[in-house]
């Protein structure tokens, strides 16, 4: 089985995708609300990754 090497960015975005999907499915009652919640949750995850990434970059300069 080949070993997969993902960058930090790829790994966190994949995690964000699956976590958003699961949280949306279990927490909202209708498909429309699930879609909105999932997209918003993924957006928040991605924004946090960008924000913390830049914070670490600037903190290590």
């Amino acid at each position: 089985m080949p070993k997969m090497n993902l960058t930090h960015f790829e790994a966190t975005l994949l995690f964000a995708l699956f976590a958003s999907a699961v949280l949306a499915i279990v927490s909202k009652p209708t498909d429309k609300e699930r879609l909105h919640y999932g997209l918003r949750s993924f957006g928040y995850f991605a924004a946090t990754v960008f924000g913390l990434g830049w914070l670490m970059y600037l903190g290590h300069r």
């Binding site: 089985m1 997969m4 930090h8 949280l23 499915i25 009652p29 498909d31």
Partner: protein
């Protein structure tokens, strides 16, 4: 004097009403939802848990075994073991096929370990959701 608002939980329904869907949801991620005729939700949950688990294996994540020692070690290893085992048949198949990646340093392996644990935590959420549907607390 202000009055406290007490939220009343509905009484627990009979165990035979929800036990089977919850056990099936543990053994086969998404299976509880399929059993309860929530096919679309079951498919999304199954796909999310499966892909997270497979990515964890491909990154050679470490599968926790219960270990004792100081409190933090016990918490991490026992909690990790419970989370890993919560993926049900995926965990047992990986063990049966001899998956045993060592716990080594490195960001890829570390992500893999977290993905394996996350897959189990996702399935615990799916089990709770299956319980709520089976017990009539949720549609």
């Amino acid at each position: 004097m202000s009055e406290k608002t007490v939220t009343q939980f509905p009484p627990l329904p009979p165990i035979r009403q929800w036990l089977l869907p919850v056990v099936v949801a543990w053994l086969v991620p998404g299976g509880g939802h399929f059993m309860l005729k929530r096919h679309f939700r079951g498919a999304i949950l199954c796909g999310s848990v499966l892909l997270t688990f497979v990515l964890g294996l491909l990154m050679r994540g470490y599968m926790f075994e219960p270990a004792s020692g100081d409190l933090l070690t016990t918490l991490i290893y026992t909690g990790g073991f419970i989370a890993d085992m919560s993926t049900g048949v995926f965990y047992f198949m990986a063990k049966w096929f001899g998956y045993a990646a060592p716990d080594i340093a490195g960001h890829t392996v570390d992500y893999g370990t977290k993905f394996l644990v996350a897959a189990g935590l996702f399935n615990i959420l799916a089990m709770v959701d299956a319980f709520e549907i089976a017990s009539g607390r949720k549609q």
